[in-house]
Symmetry: C2
Subunit: 343 residues, 2 copies
């Protein structure tokens, strides 16, 4: 493998890379850039100007448009993406984390483009992916794939395990961690906790105000159900240290589920709805339990002592570490670069 090749990693510019708190796509793009650079690839990260990287930073957008209202999202996106493609000749590969938008530029340059699809945000975006179906795609789980696209591999997201130290001691509370949105099934977590009479700690940004007011807030009593607001990495670790299990009773197919891996990394077993990628991230009976409904979730809580917290962490270490992710992407880069040499 020739690691001297020049790689452009195109991160979104909604948030800084790596993000201060939220920003899953920026997190992964940043981890890819750092991991590749540390293995000797010649990495240029296209991201906001306040981003950090051990590679080269190339920036035309000063700050993330979600962090600075003077930045126009549309202008920032067009300027940022086009800048990368105007420099395409300086790279052997462009690795885009920028959804379908970067695809629109991909046929105008000779440099091959790899797109990690971090999820299809709506059916409206499919026409764009289908036009460029012959491109090079990576899915972040086997379940989040469209049948008609040219996937080279699934590469699971990797997390930085050093950020989530093992909380060895079993604790008592149940934890929900994620966006407050019906997709994430906060109401189901509340119901499951009630059924098995455990306390539930809820943390995350409120993305759906109405849902919060109708389905979550009425249950918050400061005792059996507590809401802690959004939390950063320290807050997550405090929660993990108090957690007997993480409840993730999503109502739509999960695309990957970074938080499942984060909880497992800290040794916290996960009880997850068997929808989408959850069965790929959680080893059923080993790093948690996959369930079909709230009753099964409540029953799983009673069996949570069957799960070894060290084994949870080992599971993440072997499958969802940054190293494993970088191994996966190196294989994909190599496929593309070899195919290019043969042309």
């Amino acid at each position: 493998m020739n690691r001297n090749k020049r790689i452009a990693v195109l991160a979104p510019v909604a948030w800084r890379t790596p993000p201060r708190q939220y920003g899953a796509w920026e997190t992964v793009a940043g981890n890819v850039a750092e991991g590749m650079a540390s293995r000797g690839w010649d990495v240029t990260l296209f991201a906001t100007a306040d981003s950090n990287t051990r590679g080269r930073l190339h920036a035309v957008v000063q700050r993330g448009y979600e962090e600075d209202s003077s930045v126009g999202p549309k202008v920032a996106e067009y300027l940022h993406i086009s800048e990368a493609f105007e420099h395409a000749d300086e790279f052997d590969l462009i690795h885009s984390h920028y959804d379908f938008m970067a695809l629109a530029f991909s046929r105008l340059v000779k440099t091959p483009v790899l797109t990690t699809i971090h999820g299809f945000s709506s059916p409206q975006v499919l026409p764009a992916y289908l036009k460029y179906r012959d491109g090079n795609f990576v899915s972040i789980s086997e379940s989040d794939r469209h049948p008609d696209l040219n996937y080279l591999a699934t590469v699971y997201n990797g997390i930085d395990l050093s950020l989530y130290p093992l909380a060895e001691q079993r604790a008592k509370d149940l934890v929900f961690l994620g966006r407050i949105h019906p997709d994430k099934g906060v109401h189901l977590a509340i119901e499951a906790a009630r059924l098995c009479q455990h306390r539930l700690l809820i943390a995350g940004i409120i993305q759906d105000e109405g849902y919060f007011r109708r389905e979550v807030e009425p249950h918050i009593d400061g005792k059996k159900v507590r809401y802690l607001g959004p939390v950063g990495i320290d807050g997550k670790n405090e929660l993990f240290a108090q957690a007997d299990a993480l409840l993730h009773l999503n109502t739509i197919p999960e695309r990957f589920g970074l938080v499942l891996a984060e909880a497992n990394a800290a040794g916290v077993p996960v009880i997850a709805m068997d929808l989408g990628s959850c069965r790929e991230v959680i080893a059923d009976g080993k790093s948690g339990f996959l369930v079909q409904n709230v009753q099964e979730a409540a029953a799983a809580v009673c069996r949570i002592n069957e799960i070894d917290r060290r084994q949870c962490r080992e599971h993440v270490q072997s499958r969802f570490s940054i190293e494993t992710m970088i191994d996966g992407y190196e294989r994909v880069y190599d496929m593309i670069l070899r195919a290019r040499r043969q042309n």
Copy 2:
């Protein structure tokens, strides 16, 4: 002049080209395509699939995203613009009416790109124009120019005079025609009409609901102030036939003001605020009056019989016809194509 050259005209895809009702940018793009095709240029119009042109239609977006909620605006824009640029080699010139977004693709192709700036929608878009300042730009009025861009000319918008027959007879009502938005000064038109005790007919789409409810709706009594909703060309002509004058008391600088030319074409004098391009479109004392405030507007209504309705139409015929606009764009095309041959 070599009119056999291949021209791509890139229209927006918010609306059909030509639009059914509202859609000023699509109207102008359509008029350019038709005018150029009728003079023998080899014209391809990039627009929605339901558009009409005597040139070649190239479409990947089925319907305007403002007309069909199943069309995602962002996806439609990226697919539409990139499609044109992926075919750049087939054209000698790309004439973009697509704001800064098309500029983002312009350096990735060899074909020269001409951009008509139909107005700077907000200060947030300026960084994009400034990056591509050395491009080829046309302004639609002398007043709507940024000092740092490479303008080749001002080409005033041209209207199809056959759509607006002369309404020779003086009528009694005052008319407001345009978007219901504070920028357009509907509230000032209401005040001016009240001051001179004329009836005011208001027509146009409601773009700012709150403004309509606060500043317009309370005055609508079905007698002195009437609101007719949005109108197409027939509706406009009916209004012009009832109009003693058009009141256009804009509160921010006008970029061009198509409706001023349309009213004049129909023989209707225009009373316009002296802001932005209004003094370029209206010949003060000849096709209407330029005013500084509501009191002057009301006073101008009393003097409206000084304006000759035939002269209003002649004014438009000589300066704002499609023929005049096409003459202007042919000169610009020729400049670009000659410069290209010399390189």
